[in-house]
């Protein structure tokens, strides 16, 4: 099972994502932003960071990187794609997911352990959770406020495309306390908190995020 992790100039969490994939028993495949091919991977992670210095808007330049042509095409035909933090922003810029992420309403960078509720377990990345389960992940962002127009929000709620929701005080002003969403098919997931930083007891906020990576390994095996 090969899981690609894209490194853009300014990506920060690609190495942690690779490590989480290895811990889960997968083969991590580093992909470069200039690559045209996805090297036959079975899934892709767009990691956190500040791709292209967050110039213009977060994820706006990364969206036009050569590798994204391949990612968008593959995602549309069902390849599991997980965008974490900056990766979530890139997925919104790519229009693979609706809405956008704007500066935190607090105007402060938030960095802390964050309780979230997994709202949807029927995605490629959350199948090993139970809907309603409460977990601790790591939140660290300056532009994590999820916004969308009211009809989009209504559709996300109606179709069950909200994957994770913040618990406790809203950390960044996200509408409907949204921490993560998926596309209609459930193969593309965008998540603001970081499961890859909660995958190993040694250096994280517990291991609640680990199952994002085991979920996709099982999804690929059974596909």
């Amino acid at each position: 099972m090969r899981v690609g992790v894209v490194t853009f100039p300014g990506s920060l969490d690609d190495v942690d994502a690779c490590r989480a994939i290895r811990l889960a028993g997968g083969d991590d495949v580093p992909l470069w932003h200039g690559d045209e091919s996805l090297r036959d991977v079975d899934a892709v992670v767009l990691p956190g960071g500040f791709s292209y210095g967050d110039y213009l808007r977060c994820g706006a330049i990364a969206r036009f990187a050569p590798v994204m042509n391949a990612v968008v095409a593959a995602a549309q035909s069902g390849l599991p794609v997980l965008g974490i933090c900056n990766g979530f922003q890139i997925l919104c810029e790519s229009l693979l997911l609706p809405g956008a992420l704007i500066r935190n309403d607090s105007r402060r960078f938030v960095c802390r352990d964050q309780r979230v509720r997994i709202e949807r377990a029927s995605t490629a990345w959350t199948a090993q959770y139970t809907a309603g389960e409460e977990v601790t992940l790591v939140l660290k962002n300056g532009e994590g406020g999820y916004v969308a127009n009211s009809s989009t929000l209504e559709e996300l709620e109606r179709e069950g495309q909200v994957v994770a929701r913040y618990l406790g005080p809203n950390p960044n002003g996200s509408m409907h306390e949204i921490a993560g969403i998926c596309n209609g098919r459930g193969n593309v997931v965008g998540l603001m908190p970081h499961p890859e930083h909660a995958a190993d007891d040694l250096c994280g906020a517990g291991t609640d995020g680990f199952r994002f990576f085991t979920s996709v390994l099982h999804a690929a095996l059974s596909a």
Binding site: A100, N104, G145, N149
Partner: protein, 82 residues
């Protein structure tokens, strides 16, 4: 060459934290008359030759696909007088 200016602004009904931060700083510096601030971006595009309707349409496409994100921002396009 002609200069075409694209102004990109956060949508009216959307929170603009940067504008709010500037608004908070102004009175501290003694600028008391400002009621509200919204912060956007200005792009100056140098365009080859005369600006035709086709060129302007192209600039609008660029404004929609790259310079702005329509879900959260509005843009205006204008030709700068020489």
């Amino acid at each position: 060459m002609t200069r075409v200016v694209v102004d990109v602004m956060p949508k009216r009904d959307l929170l603009d934290p940067q504008g709010k931060a500037v608004l908070g700083a102004l009175p501290r510096l003694g600028f008391e008359c400002v009621r509200d601030v919204r912060q956007g971006k200005r792009f100056e595009l140098e365009v080859d030759g005369d600006v035709t309707e086709d060129r302007l349409a192209e600039v609008r496409r660029a404004a929609e696909t790259l310079l702005s994100k329509p879900v959260i921002e509005d843009y205006t396009v204008r030709v700068e007088p020489e």
